[in-house]
């Protein structure tokens, strides 16, 4: 399959459980080495780059389930987010941007993340990723297990992040929400792309509607 994200785009990756969406993101981020094929980032093959250096290249990932460091504070997460040399150079500006986006990350900076709600933890996870000063932000199921009200504010935040020039690659089970936010989307089924195109077109596509947006398949 072939999939691309251009600068400044929001691309959604939708599809059922086991379609390979998370595997794809993990491969791009370097957590799983791809068995075949190439992952190119500005003409460089990412499969040859160590996972910790991929962040330095400007790709950041918010993993499924947030994967925070349970015993550490909100501020420590943001500090660690700016771990790479490139991110450290612009740390104050990134911090200001993240705090403007999610003010509560500043209010609760001394709180241990274990004490936060799921939605708040998701904001910490996104803040941590943004601190690396990425040009592409990848998110794996950011709405999973989060109160609907907070899902909306997270999606709004993603749109705002994108307006600042960051490309977004979003894996989401909440297809309606993902397609509403994204410019383009790919539909993945058992490891293959079965549909792609502008989100608006996919939203009205008969197959997509039946498979992912029908009354039985809708996930909120």
């Amino acid at each position: 399959m072939t999939l691309s994200v251009a600068a400044g785009e929001i691309v959604a990756l939708v599809g059922g459980n086991g379609a390979g969406k998370s595997t794809l993101l993990k491969s791009i981020a370097g957590l799983l080495p791809p068995r075949a094929g190439a992952i190119r980032w500005e003409e460089e093959d990412l499969a040859r780059v160590g996972a910790h250096q991929i962040v330095e290249r400007g790709l950041a990932m918010v993993p499924e389930g947030r994967r925070l460091f349970a015993g550490m504070t909100v501020q420590e997460h943001l500090d660690l987010g700016a771990f790479t040399p490139r991110a450290r150079a612009v740390r104050p500006a990134s911090l200001e941007r993240v705090h403007a986006l999610f003010p509560f990350l500043h209010e609760r900076r001394r709180h241990v993340v274990r004490s936060l709600s799921g939605g708040q933890q998701q904001m910490v996870a996104i803040g941590r990723a943004l601190m690396s000063n990425p040009r592409l932000l990848m998110l794996d199921e950011p709405s999973l297990g989060i109160a609907p009200r907070l899902v909306r504010s997270i999606l709004t935040a993603l749109a705002e992040i994108n307006r600042a020039g960051v490309a977004v690659l979003l894996v989401e089970q909440n297809v309606q929400a993902a397609l509403t936010l994204a410019h383009r989307a790919y539909v993945l089924e058992s490891g293959r792309i079965t549909a792609e195109g502008p989100s608006a077109a996919l939203l009205s596509d008969a197959h997509v509607r039946r498979a992912y947006l029908g009354p039985l398949a809708t996930r909120a």
Binding site: L31, H52, M61, P63, R67, F69, M72, L80
Partner: protein, 289 residues
């Protein structure tokens, strides 16, 4: 009564060293998820290194720390690169089995090496001020052991500061919590493992110096110290170095009390009893999460 109080004072003093011995084991176990059963042998080697520094180079026993600590950090780098680095990212079962084999093998080799270099005799470092005693409220406090305790506390405090304020200290803690998430923030987790292991070995070397000054070393003390450290790690739980230090003191005092109540031979038994009771009642330890 004052005899008991005297025992408790001595228990606190040795307890500080238990805490220091446990801090290294705890750091390596918490970050690499590898139980280094040769930790006690590393302590033993640190003790002999101090012994040599005093006997051959004429250094002050506490002053030998400036030599022994860097050497043990280097030894840690070498041991990680040659042995433990290979198992740390293996799957859980392989890692547990292989790291135990490596640890026991290393313990045997180091024990044999020590017997060859220094014979099986017990040695301790004699200092001009070794017999000095401070008397406080009728209790006598040996100066050398007090100094060892203070150094152990300072080292643990310094370690805690490193882990909370140094960039790589935070990276080490993040790697301990979730190595994949650490990788996603751009941390070179292999370097975090290497640093944590080297620091663990450095802590063992430091503990060894202090043991050889206030107490004594022989090639066979390794297992005993690994056990003490393990009991303290279980007692205190992972994650807090200050908690580990307090856990060490608790073990020291508990040993002193049981020795006073039931006689010297029961000193070791109480530690193992604590080990079992804590595992049953509070598997994450007193200060663990």
């Amino acid at each position: 009564m004052s005899a008991l109080a005297q025992q408790i004072v001595l228990g606190v003093l040795i307890g500080g060293l238990y805490g220091l011995a446990a801090a290294g084991l705890s750091l390596v176990f918490g970050v690499l998820k590898v139980l280094n059963v040769a930790h006690g042998e590393l302590i033993m080697l640190g003790g002999y290194a101090a012994f040599w520094a005093v006997a051959l180079l004429g250094m002050d026993p506490f002053g030998s720390l400036v030599l022994v600590v860097p050497l043990s950090l280097l030894a840690g780098v070498f041991l990680y690169g040659a042995l433990f680095g290979f198992v740390v990212r293996a799957n859980e079962e392989t890692r547990e089995k292989n790291s135990l084999l490596i640890g026991f093998g290393l313990a045997l080799v180091l024990h044999a090496l020590a017997v060859r270099l220094w014979t099986a005799d017990e040695r301790s470092i004699v200092t001009p001020y070794g017999g000095a005693v401070i008397t406080v409220a009728g209790l006598s406090v040996p100066v050398v052991r007090l100094l060892s305790f203070v150094i152990a506390f300072a080292v643990i405090g310094g370690l805690q500061l490193l882990l909370t304020h140094w960039r790589w200290g935070k990276a080490i803690r993040a790697t301990a919590e979730d190595w994949q998430a650490a990788l996603l923030t751009g941390i070179d987790v292999r370097r975090a493992y290497l640093l944590a292991f080297a620091m663990g070995t450095g802590l063992a070397g430091t503990a060894g110096v202090l043991v050889s000054v206030g107490y004594s070393v022989s090639p066979s003390i390794g297992l005993e110290w690994t056990l003490k450290a393990l009991i303290v790690v279980v007692l205190a739980g992972l994650g807090s170095m200050i908690g580990t230090f307090v856990g060490g003191i608790l073990l020291g005092v508990a040993e002193a009390l049981s020795a006073a109540a039931f006689g010297g031979p029961y000193r070791e038994v109480v530690g193992l009893l604590i080990f079992v009771v804590v595992l049953c009642a509070r598997p994450r330890g007193l200060f663990g999460r």
